[in-house]
Each structure stands twice: as C-alpha cells, then as structure tokens.
C-alpha cells in the first residue's frame, strides 16, 4: 500500500489497526513536526526548552499514542477535516502538562499572579478613570451594548470574540484558529471591526 497518498484519517486508522513500518514512517514524516512544536511550546510554558527535555516529551506523546495497542488511534473518530492534528496537539499538550505538573506540584508560582484589583488600579491611572467603579461602569456599558444586539448564536459568538480580543489580547488569527467558531482570520477581524464601530457610535450618540 502507498501510505503517502492516504488521507490523514486513513493513515491514522492504518497505523492503529494494521501497524507496519511503512505506515509509521509516513506517520512520523507527517506528524512529527506537529508533535514536536506543541511539545516545545508546552515545555517553554514550564520554563524548559532544552532539546533533551523536549525530545523526552515528544517520545512520551508517541508512547501515549501507541499505549494499549494503539487505543488512542483506534478510538479517534474525526468530526471535521484536519481534526487529527487538533487531537494530536491536545494529546501532546496534555502529556507535557501532566509531566511537569507531577514534577513541579509543590512549586506553584503564585508570585506572578496579578490580582484583578491590581490590574484595575493600574488601569485607572493609565486611562484617567477616577475610580475602579468608573472603569467597571465603562466595561458594563460596553457589555450591555453587546447584549442589546440580540441573544442569537451569531450575537453570542460575536460578543465572545470581542471580549477574547479586548480582554485577553487574542489576535484575530488566534481566535480564528479555534475550529468551533468556523471563522477565518478576515472573518474575525471583520466581527471585531464591526462591533467596535457599533459601540463607538452608540456611546457617542448616548453622550
């Protein structure tokens, strides 16, 4: 069988159900980079980026896929095109997090946690809001405007996109990478732009 012409889903099924050297060679050729890049980034989240450490996590992820007679591969059922890469990323990230969580269970870094009150205080100074209350009112005002647009799935989706962008700094590309939103980067940009414009107009005409 020519494994190079198989779709991702068919290749995964072959590797799980009829494992052979050629199938796995193709699997590694296609997916090693995906596994390694997620492992590297996840290791960096835990301040570990030495190649040896990343390599060990890549091996852990592959071992997880093969465990219990490839059950992770045999259990996989695609919901949408390209689903396997998402599944693979999730497995790899979980493997790395589980490893470091177990290793650093006692060393949680709480010093870096910024309390909301601190953030609000900092923002008061930057924006010239006279109090935290003023700032909260401003945020609520924006959220009310978003809620007034309606309660349908599109309006709910748009509101979520708006806050993911403005509260957490997620870029349009990052938001568009979430498969269930089913929007491209341009689509997300357009939602953000449209909402921002509506909010500005509403705030100006209210004043």
């Amino acid at each position: 069988m020519d494994y190079q012409v198989l779709s991702d889903d068919d290749l995964v099924r072959e590797c799980g159900e009829n494992p052979c050297l050629e199938a796995w060679e193709e699997f590694i050729r296609r997916f090693h980079r995906t596994i390694a890049s997620v492992a590297l980034r996840a290791c960096r989240e835990w301040s570990q980026a030495l190649p040896d450490v990343v390599e060990d996590r890549v091996q852990d992820a592959l071992a997880k896929l093969c465990a219990d007679n490839y059950s992770m591969l045999r259990m996989f059922h695609p919901h949408h095109p390209g689903a396997f890469r998402g599944y693979l990323r999730k497995i790899t990230a979980n493997v790395v997090y589980d490893h470091f969580r177990a290793e650093h269970a006692a060393k949680r870094d709480v010093a870096n946690t910024t309390e909301l009150n601190d953030s609000i205080h900092q923002l008061d100074c930057e924006l010239g809001f006279t109090s935290s209350r003023d700032f909260e009112i401003f945020l609520n005002e924006i959220d009310d405007l978003l809620l007034q647009r309606g309660n349908g799935p599109i309006e709910k989706r748009d509101r979520a996109i708006f806050w993911l962008h403005y509260r957490y700094g997620m870029t349009a590309k990052e938001i568009a990478s979430i498969p269930s939103l089913k929007l491209g980067e341009k689509g997300v940009e357009s939602v953000i732009h449209r909402l921002m414009r509506e909010i500005k107009e509403a705030l100006v005409s209210k004043d």
């Binding site: 390694a36 999730k90 269930s180 004043d207």
Partner: protein, 357 residues
C-alpha cells in the same frame, strides 16, 4: 451629509484624519459636528487605551477543567460544547487566559529560535525517524506478545494454584528497573535546574555554552569563582556534565567528557559546540595554539553537519579574535547576527562587532 451635518461614518473618517477636505471645513464651521467629532475622539481614545491595557474580567464560577482548553483549541469537542466553553472564557479571566495560551501553543508558525531547537531534536533526523517508526510499528506487536505471555502464564499457573517463584523474581527486576529509570529522570531534572540557575546568574566564559539559555558574562562568573554541581556518570548526560565542568572552570575535564561522548557515537550539535568551547578555553589556559587549531577544525565540522547552528559562529569569532584574525572574526560575527533572532544574545554580538570594526 445627513440633514446638513456630517454622518457618523464621515465623523469617523475625520477622527482618523481621513476624508475629503470639505468635511474638515464643515466641522470647523459647524458647532454640532465639531462637538460630535470631539466626543467621538474621546470615546475612541478610551476604547483604544482599553485595548492596549488588556484588562481581564473577574474569574468566573464553575470553571471547566484546565485540559478542556486544549480540547477547545484543538477542536476535539462537539461544536455546541466547545462554544459554551468559549462563552465562559470570554467572561472569566482565568479561563480566557488559558484559552489564549492553548491557541498560542497550537499555532503552527514557529519562530526562527523555535525552528532551531526543533532541528536540534534527535528525532528530527531522517535516520532517527526511521528507527523511531520501526519501534512504534512494533510496539503494538510487543503489546500482543505481552498479552499472549500473560495468557500463557495464567494457563501454566492455574494447575499449581499460585504464581511461580521466577515470576516474583522477574517482577522485582522489572520494578527495580522502572524505579531506577524514574529516579534517574528525576535526578536529571534536578541537576538541569541547578545548572540552569547558575548559568542564569551569568555564564562562566565569554564563549557561548550550548544547551543553556543565554546570559551575560558577569564579573563574578568571568572571574575565578567556581561553582560545583555534581553530575554522576551513571546519568549518562555528557552535555550536562560538560556544562557543570565549565562552571568548575575544569576545561580539560570537559574535553574528556565530550570526547568520550563522541567516541560512543554522540555527535549532537550540543556536544560538538561545547567541545569547541572546551578546546578554546584549554588553549587559552595552556597558551597552546594546538588546542585552538582543534577547536577551529571542529567548528568547520559543525558548520558542515549543522548549517542552522548559530552558536558555532559566535564561538569561532572569539577563536579568530584570539588568533589575531580580526577580519575572519568580523565575518563570523556578522553571520551569527544574521542567524540569531532578536534578543540579548544578538545585542551582545553587535556590541562585540562594533568593538572589532
């Protein structure tokens, strides 16, 4: 125009200093539009600043498990369930950040620095991947064999009513092996952290040591102070042992460790890069140009084998400088700067280049 006044779209254009000149003239002469433009600019400024401040929401209640955010970002949940979580994230600071991190973790585009680390992974090479595939393809068969063995054991154990003594011995041997491996991995982790912490304080030599994050050369570390981190031989981590030897300023010990690693077939870029450093430093200590020659020869080999390795160019530049080959040092530094992504390491190289020019 709307009712003789500017429309909100035209006001927006003006706030961005766009649109026809006649609108500008209108706003200067119309009190209503002037006031609207002023309000628009205030609201825009507030919203723009809000965007740059990135303020989070309060933490929500009933937050899902942390792993859910990998499912959402990876698209492995049913759509409706995923969407419910996204809505929660939009209103919960803690979960919003986790979702953001998950999408960043899964981004396919890698920075040059990440590409460099990836290309240094042992499993990236074609030969290694072939071996890996062989192992993975047979791991299922291995599992079948183990299952078959289990059945066989059960079959033979039944007539006697209890497991055989050899099984207990095998179990002890296996448990000891697994325990030893777990202990070894734990020890490696601890030593890696210790060494990384020492290097963070400042690197012990002007040369760049491979396998540790970049840090500046500090007066203390570049002086005569030594730091001892013991790396037992049985851990079989030559790179770590060499990094520790550098902290102890034992350049010849580093040479011994790394040459031994090479002889046993370990020609990783880290081993070779650090061997260049060890030879150069030993050459400096012994005032022996033969060591410099060995270091240079080795650096040629690295450039051949690992064309994407930038560290070798930095270390070559220092070697050339010590050999009085200023022009070659400049060429090497320029190459390093070209290959190294932005950061303090590049800045240091630029400073060095300025000094040579």
């Amino acid at each position: 125009m709307y009712n003789g006044h500017l429309s909100i779209e035209e006001i927006e254009q003006l706030s961005q200093q766009k649109g026809p000149a006649e609108n500008q003239t209108h706003v200067e002469n119309c009190q209503q539009c002037k006031s609207l433009l002023a309000k628009y600019q205030i609201v825009s400024a507030k919203l723009d600043q809000l965007a740059s401040a990135r303020i989070g929401a309060k933490n929500g209640m009933n937050c899902p498990e942390e792993k859910v955010w990998f499912d959402v970002a990876g698209g492995t949940l049913p759509e409706a369930e995923s969407f419910t979580h996204i809505q929660h994230a939009a209103e919960c600071e803690s979960c919003g950040k986790k979702l953001r991190n998950a999408t960043r973790l899964f981004d396919e585009k890698l920075s040059p620095e990440e590409e460099k680390i990836l290309s240094a992974l042992p499993s990236t090479g074609a030969k290694a991947q072939s071996k890996l595939a062989e192992r993975l393809a047979s791991s299922g068969r291995g599992a079948d064999v183990q299952q078959a063995k289990k059945k066989a054991i059960k079959f033979f154990a039944l007539p006697f009513g209890r497991p055989q003594p050899w099984m207990a011995v095998a179990a002890v041997v296996i448990a000891a092996f697994v325990g030893f491996q777990a202990y070894r991995i734990n020890e490696i982790g601890k030593i890696q952290t210790k060494i990384a912490n020492q290097y963070k304080k400042g690197r012990p030599t002007e040369f760049r040591v491979a396998g540790v994050d970049f840090s500046r050369l500090t007066a203390t570390m570049g002086g005569v102070e030594r730091f001892y981190v013991r790396v037992p031989d049985w851990l079989q981590r030559p790179t770590l042992s060499a990094q520790a030897a550098f902290l102890e300023r034992e350049w010849d010990a580093a040479i011994r460790i790394l040459e031994k690693a090479r002889q046993s077939g370990n020609n990783s870029v880290e081993v070779l890069d650090n061997l260049v450093v060890a030879y150069a430093l030993e050459g400096e200590r012994a005032q022996d140009r033969d060591f410099y020659a060995k270091a240079l020869l080795l650096s040629d080999e690295i450039i051949q084998q690992y064309p994407s390795d930038a560290i070798v160019y930095f270390n070559r530049a220092l070697l050339f400088e010590q050999l009085g080959r200023r022009q070659d040092a400049i060429v090497s530094l320029r190459k390093f700067i070209e290959m190294e992504p932005d950061g303090p390491s590049r800045d240091e190289a630029k400073e060095k280049l300025q000094m040579l020019l």
